[in-house]
Each structure stands twice: as C-alpha cells, then as structure tokens.
C-alpha cells in the first residue's frame, strides 16, 4: 500500500523540466522541422523544374509513350519495327533485354561461382591457387573494363563473316555475333510442352510422396532421378510418339552476314561474359566462406554416424552452408541485374541504353525518362529481394 501511495505522489507532482529537455517535445520539434525542410526541398525542386521546362519549351507528361519512336533496335524479343513502334514498345524491349541478360547471367554466374568456390577449397594445390588467382584478378578490375576488354579486345579478334568459325550443326561464330540453329516446331508440338508441364507437376508429387514415405518408414527413394525422368523423359516420349516434329534452321555463311538461324549479337555476348565472369568471382568467395563456416565437427559427426562422403556433403554440409550463402548471394544477384545497365557503354539495347539513352536524347523529357528507368530498376530490385527473402525464410533454421 505504502509503495502505491508513493507512486501516485510521484506521478502527480511532475518535476520541473525545461520545455526543450522533454524527450517528446524535442522529438516532435525535430521531426517537424525535418519534415518541413524536406517538403520545402521537394517543393522548390519541382517549381524550379517547371520553370526550367517552360524556359526550354519542353513538354511534360507521359503522352510521348504513344508516339512513334522511329529508331532501330538491334535486338528485341517482341515484334519491333522502326516505323510503327512507339516509345512504350521501346520501353518493353529495353526491359526484356535487361531481364534476359540478367537472368542468363545469374544462372551462368551461379554455376561458375560455385565451381570456383569449391575449387578454392580443393586439396589440389594447383587448382586451389588457380581459383584464388582468378578471384583476385576478376574482382579487382572494374566491370566496365571487363566489358571493354571482351567487346573491343576479345570479340574484335573474331573472324570476318566471310571466314566465320563453322561449328557445323552448332552454328557460326564471327565478329557479327554467334549464329545458332533455330528450332522450328512442327504440328502437335504443344503436346510436348504440355507433357513437360505434367512432368514438372509429377516430379513435385513424387517428391512429396517420397518425403512422406521416408518419414513414415525410413525408406529412401531416388527422388532426384525419378523427378528428372518425369521432367525430361515424359516430353521425350511424347516427342518420339509424335514422330519427332522438329527441324532446325541452320545458319549458312554469307558474304555480309550469315542467313537463317538465331542471332546472338556481339554486344550481348560481351556483356554476358563480363557480367558472368565478374560476378562469379564474388559468388566464389561467398560459397567458400559459406562452406568454411560450417563447423568441422559436423563433418566428423556425420562420418561417425556412418554417412559416406557424398551423403555427408548433400545431407549435412550443403544445407547448412546454404543458409549462410543465400543472403549475400541475393545481393550479388541484385548487383548483377543493376550492373547490366553498363550495357550502355557498348550500346547493347538494354533499358538504360535505349530508354534513358537514345529515346531520352530524341525527346528531351529528362525527368520522365529517368524516373521511369529508375522506378523500373527499383521494382526489379525489390521483387528480387522479396523473392529471395521468402526463399531464405524457407531455408532458415527452424528453432523452437
């Protein structure tokens, strides 16, 4: 009772505190002033901008998106023509080109990075040192220089189209790019695609059934091979049943440029090689650190339990290492996507190059073009990191 009384007395007569020494007053004042300052900055920036646009006679707004662009783009995944396509089409072409180089780059860099990261831990002295030298050289040279070396240095050494390097069925390679055979699907090919989808679903079902059975009986099932069989075998079966409805359009060497087939422009090859080799060096370090971070006791305990070397790796080491690897790997994926904007230096038609570059120079509406470009990259970054956070949460250690 006595302490209650003391407490009420303490709260009833508050100590005399100077106004600015009260934390809540300070906090309100400070936040208010900061908000006002930021609003003022934004307001004055925008008014200055409209004044400047008026003086220069530049229109504002997004009406330009529907007007005809009138310039050619060397690579596009959708239908694009110089005469009819609009700036919106340019934007879509740019985004798709960015995404394709980033997606292929991420896959290749992950593979190369894991190989080099594991090789760095190899018992073999030469392989270990070679991987170390690779990592040190590739990550200490700026990416832009990598791109220049591939594009202006290495790819310029490729032969003229007249004397293309001919890989027969695998296509042609010359200084105008890589010309790959193009698949032409015959009638009923959509059945193969459906079989492929069914295969994926089946693989998932086999996986969950095998897991359930292992939990119940302890018996294992070769999930990986069964899944692979479903995903690849089923479409292959349908393909053979349909009588192999596939022909290849193989490029033929010509005087100026080869005809037929699919073209991979040199800018794409250079950018892809540079992004892959550069990012792989960083991924290798992440993989190495992740594997080293798994306690040696884990390996020893697994061996003591009687697991073989490959089971130890698959069931004990890799799952634990992945938890350490995934968060920094995410930021490398994001870096690679953002770094693909360096394409502008060699005129690969990515988002920055065609939209914030060529299209902006034609239209002059800097604010709109740059904002759209930045927001697009921001969206890609946020979506990628959200997906990887979700994946990371799934892989994370579940503790009670």
């Amino acid at each position: 009772m006595a302490s209650d009384v003391a407490a009420t007395q303490q709260t009833s007569e508050e100590p005399q505190v100077a106004l600015l020494n009260r934390p809540e007053v300070r906090s309100m004042l400070f936040q208010g002033l900061l908000t006002l300052a930021i609003i003022y900055l934004i307001y004055s920036g925008i008014t200055n901008m409209f004044d400047a646009l008026d003086r220069a006679g530049i229109a504002s707004g997004f009406a330009f998106l529907n007007s005809s662009a009138g310039f050619a783009i060397s690579q596009s995944l959708i239908e694009y023509s110089q005469s009819t396509s609009t700036y919106f089409d340019v934007y879509v072409v740019g985004v798709l080109n960015t995404l394709i180089v980033a997606a292929i780059g991420i896959v290749l860099a992950t593979i190369l990075g894991f190989v080099i990261g594991v090789a760095r831990l190899s018992d073999n002295w030469i392989i270990g040192k070679l991987s170390k030298i690779y990592v040190e050289i590739f990550r200490n040279i700026p990416l832009l220089l990598h791109i220049f070396i591939w594009y202006f240095g290495v790819l310029r050494l490729l032969p003229h189209p007249r004397d293309s390097a001919d890989f027969g069925f695998m296509g042609l390679l010359n200084n105008r790019g890589y010309f790959a055979p193009k698949p032409i699907w015959g009638d009923g090919s959509f059945m193969i695609f459906i079989a492929f989808l069914i295969g994926i679903v089946a693989a998932f079902m086999i996986g969950s059934w095998a897991k359930k059975r292992q939990m119940a009986t302890g018996q294992q099932f070769p999930t990986f091979w069964a899944g692979l069989g479903a995903i690849i075998g089923l479409p292959l079966l349908v393909f053979l049943v349909l009588g192999a409805p596939l022909t290849w359009d193989i490029p033929v060497a010509g005087g100026f440029r080869p005809s037929g087939g699919m073209t991979m422009i040199p800018e794409f090859i250079a950018l892809l090689l540079a992004l892959t080799t550069y990012t792989a060096a960083f991924i290798a370090e992440i993989v190495r650190a992740g594997i080293l971070a798994v306690n040696k006791g884990q390996t020893e305990a697994a061996h003591a339990l009687g697991l073989r070397q490959n089971k130890t790796l698959n069931l004990v080491i890799i799952p634990q290492a992945m938890r350490i690897i995934i968060p920094p790997l995410t930021s490398q994926y994001l870096n690679l996507t953002k770094n693909s904007s360096l394409a502008v230096a060699i005129a690969y038609p990515d988002l920055t190059s065609v939209f914030a570059g060529t299209a902006l120079n034609q239209q002059g509406q800097a604010v709109e073009f740059i904002s759209i470009t930045m927001l697009t990259y921001l969206t890609i970054s946020l979506v990628t990191s959200m997906f990887m956070n979700w994946y990371n949460a799934r892989m994370a250690l579940v503790e009670r």
Binding site: A18, L19, L20, N21, S27, F30, Q31, L34, T35, I38, S44, G45, I46, N48, M49, D51, A52, L53, R55, S122, D123, N124, W125, I126, I127, L130, E136, I137, R139, N140, I141, P142, L143, L144, L145, F148, I149, F152, G153, R156, K338, N339, S341, L342, V344, A345, T352, A356, L360, A366, V367, I370, T373, M374, Y377, L378, S381, L382
Partner: protein, 454 residues
C-alpha cells in the same frame, strides 16, 4: 663376465637419419598435394594445361615480344599493317603507354601547372598513409589535417582558388552581388545561427553564453576557409573539363567517400532512431539509392539535376557527377555503419545513458568511436567498390583514367591492332594494383580488430 659375449647387440648408436624422400621434401609434397589419387592427378593435369595456355602467351605479350621504345605506330604494327614487325608478331606496345603516360595521369592539365597536382598528391598520400597505420603517432592532429586543412589546400591547388562569392541571403535589390555582399550575408547568417543556439540553450535551461560562443567560433573557422578559397594566390585557374586521367578518378573516389561517410553515419543513426519520421526518411533514402544502378544516378545528376536548381545556379559536370556519386555511396555507407551500430552490445548504450550523457555525447564519445572502428574493413570495401565504379563517369562524358585510355584510341599516331589490348592491359594492371592493396589493407585491419574474439 667375458663369457657373456653379446656381440649381436649394437655397441655404437647409428647417426640420426633424415626422413625418407618419399615422406618429406619436394617429392613427397608433389605426391601428396598433386598426385594423391586418380581424380587429383586429372585435376593437376587440367591445371597444368590451363597454366600452359595462359602463362607463355602472357609472358610473350608482356615481355618477350613487347616494344618499349618508339616514336609512332610503325614500331607496333606488322609489315602488312605498315609497320616494322614481322607478320606473325603479337606483343604489347608499351611505347604507346609511355608516350601517353602524362595524359593517363593528368588528362589535359596544363604542363606548367602539373606541380600543383603532384603537390596535392604528395600531401594526400603523406597525410593518409600515417592515418592508416594504426601505430603511427599524432592521430588527432593527422585527422584534423586530412579532413579539414587538406581539402581546402587541394581545392585551391587543383582549381587555382580565387573563387568568387556573390552572396546568397539578401535579395539583389538591397545590395548588388559582390564579395562584400557575401561577407554581409555571412555575418547575418552567423548571427542567426548564434541566436538559434542561444534559444536552444534557453529552452533547455542552460547558460546560453557557451553555445553562442561555440556557434560563433565555428562560423569563424568556416569564414577562414572561405577567405582562403577566395584569396588570389596568383595561381592560374584550371577548368575541370580539362582535368582527366587518374587525377579525376582519385578526385571522384576520394571526394565521394569523404562526403559519403558523414552522410552515411547520419543516415545509419536515422535508421536506428526512435523517431518515426526520421526513420522513415532514412529508410526510403537508403533503399532508393541501393535499388537503382549507378549509371541511372549519373544520368540523373547530369540531365535532371540542373532542372531542379534555381535559375542562374549552375554546377559544372564534375561537381554534378560528384553529387550523384556521394549520394549513391552514402546509402551503401549507411548500411555498413548500421552493421557496426548493431554489433555493439546494448550495455554500451545503457551505460552511456546511465552516466547521464545526452544523445550527442553518447554517440560522439561512446558509440561511434567503437562502431566506426568495427566497420573500418567495411568502409575500405565500400571505397574499393566506389573506386571501381568511378569508371562509369566516362559514360556521361568525363575523362577518368579508363576514359583517357579509351580516348587515346582515336589518335592515329599510335593506332595499331595491339593498341587497345595494350591500353586495357595497362588499365587492368593499375586498377588491380589499387584495389588489391586496399583489399589487403582491409584484411589486415580485420585481423587486427578480430583479436580476442576467437
């Protein structure tokens, strides 16, 4: 006893023998590390094959076949290309690098004024290197020189100083823009700041005099800096568009990091603040800059930033790029510093508060010294990233080190098929040198700071 002949027992001990060659020494090492098993042997052979493919051509290009002296392209071209070399010659053209060396380092900075750049460089490395060595003495004096005095000297030396200040506060109708108006404006601003300091002190029941004196002292120091920048030392003015080469690379990287560090610390503190709006602004700022590529930031600062400035205010291209680079790296720096803040145990904050320190004192005396020390490796790594990213300014038309090399290819005097390979090899070598030593330093600091944790 003579019957007990034990002649079969050794009477003399053998000398100690070295371990057999198969267990120790180079042969055993090769056997254990390179040929211990069949897969290992295959890997070794693959490794040797890769080395064979890389090293002889590399040595031949860089040393054996390369050309070190010469006046023009003839020494670096084959006979078929109009030169003097044999037709299957392929080597580095170091003569071209030598001829262009001055431009690679200084750009088009006037010959007569090169001593200014050299002096700045000597002062910079002379003050930075002792700062980076943990055991070097006079740290606080060194920091003050590097952070406050050196930048002023560098601006005066590199641009030529004698900057014009035209006033910023009073409307032009009251007083025409001139140096005198700037002085008047500056005095008015100082008085306003002193007044605010007095009000804050009054509001928190303190004696206002120390705050006012502190504010005036600070503004006095700022005034000295402005005077030094404004005085005519008789140095020729060198416009930034003719700067180039390694000079521009270093100016952008160093200024970028110098501006990013304080801004990054503020943002990191803001992100960990209890105040909702402060935290919100910090998070938006950091995540925005981290989510966009540097190229778009540079495009923004070169084409969009001029629109946001009031009429008549103009920044030159280098300064605009610097603003973009500084904001961009501030966001990355903020995340590095936040890592340091999060690594400190909560007891440090609570202990500081229990001692009765206010927020500023707590941060300045207890938290930041520990947190920043923890993240020195992270700061160096951010700097390495920034140093490599400075190459991007060539896309907006500034000539940094890589930009000058790229530019030199348009000169027909040295044009030959090996010219660009030589130039890129040289650029790669220089960037590698800088980045490799910085990353060594970062590892060294990491090891030094790690003591006691393992």
């Amino acid at each position: 006893m003579s019957d007990n002949n034990i002649s079969y027992v050794r009477t003399e001990m053998l000398e100690e023998q070295p371990a057999p060659l198969s267990e120790k020494g180079p042969v055993a090492w090769v056997k254990n590390n390179l040929f211990s098993s069949v897969p290992n042997t295959i890997m070794t052979l693959i490794g040797l094959w890769i080395l064979y493919k890389i090293i002889p051509p590399f040595i031949s290009f860089v040393f054996l076949e390369s050309v070190w002296t010469g006046a023009d392209r003839a020494v670096c071209a084959t006979e078929a290309q109009g030169g003097v070399q044999g037709n299957d010659w392929f080597g580095g053209c170091w003569a071209y690098v030598g001829a262009y060396m001055k431009q690679f380092i200084y750009g088009r900075y006037p010959d007569a004024e090169l001593w200014r750049v050299n002096l700045t460089g000597i002062l910079f490395f002379g003050s930075l290197i002792p700062l980076l060595i943990p055991s070097a003495p006079y740290k606080s004096a060194n920091i003050i020189f590097t952070v406050v005095i050196f930048p002023v000297i560098a601006i005066v030396l590199l641009t030529g100083g004698h900057l014009e200040f035209n006033g910023f506060l009073l409307p032009d109708s009251i007083m025409a823009p001139s140096t005198a108006k700037f002085a008047v404006d500056f005095v008015i601003l100082s008085l306003i700041i002193a007044g605010i300091a007095a009000l804050i002190a009054r509001g928190s029941d303190k004696n206002p005099m120390p705050s006012v004196m502190g504010a005036l002292f600070f503004m006095g120091a700022v005034a000295v800096i402005f005077i030094v920048l404004g005085v005519n030392f008789g140095l020729e003015h060198v416009e930034t568009p003719i700067w180039g080469g390694l000079l521009v690379t270093l100016v952008i990287a160093v200024t970028g990091i110098a501006a990013a560090l304080p801004l990054g610390i503020l943002l990191a503190l803001g992100r960990r603040s209890n105040m909702m709006f402060v935290r919100l602004f910090s998070v938006i700022f950091i995540e925005f800059w981290r989510g966009v590529p540097l190229i778009t930031v540079l495009f923004m600062s070169s084409v969009m930033l001029p629109l946001f400035l009031p009429e008549g205010v103009e920044f030159d291209k280098l300064l605009r790029a610097l603003i973009g680079v500084a904001l961009f790296s501030a966001a990355y720096m903020a995340e590095v510093v936040r890592g340091g803040l999060q690594a400190l145990p909560k007891g440090q904050f609570e202990g500081a508060m229990a001692l009765g320190l206010n927020w500023g004192q707590m941060m300045r005396l207890i938290i930041l010294p520990q947190a920043l020390k923890l993240v020195i490796p992270g700061i160096v790594n951010t700097f390495i990233g920034l140093f490599k990213d400075t190459t991007l300014v060539l896309i907006i038309g500034l000539f940094d080190f890589l930009g000058t090399i790229q530019l030199s290819y348009s000169d027909p005097t040295w044009s030959s098929p090996v010219q660009n390979i030589t130039g890129y090899a040289f650029a790669a070598f220089i960037y590698f040198l800088f980045c490799y030593f910085m990353s060594r330093y970062s590892t060294f600091m990491e090891d030094k700071l790690n003591t006691g944790h393992r």
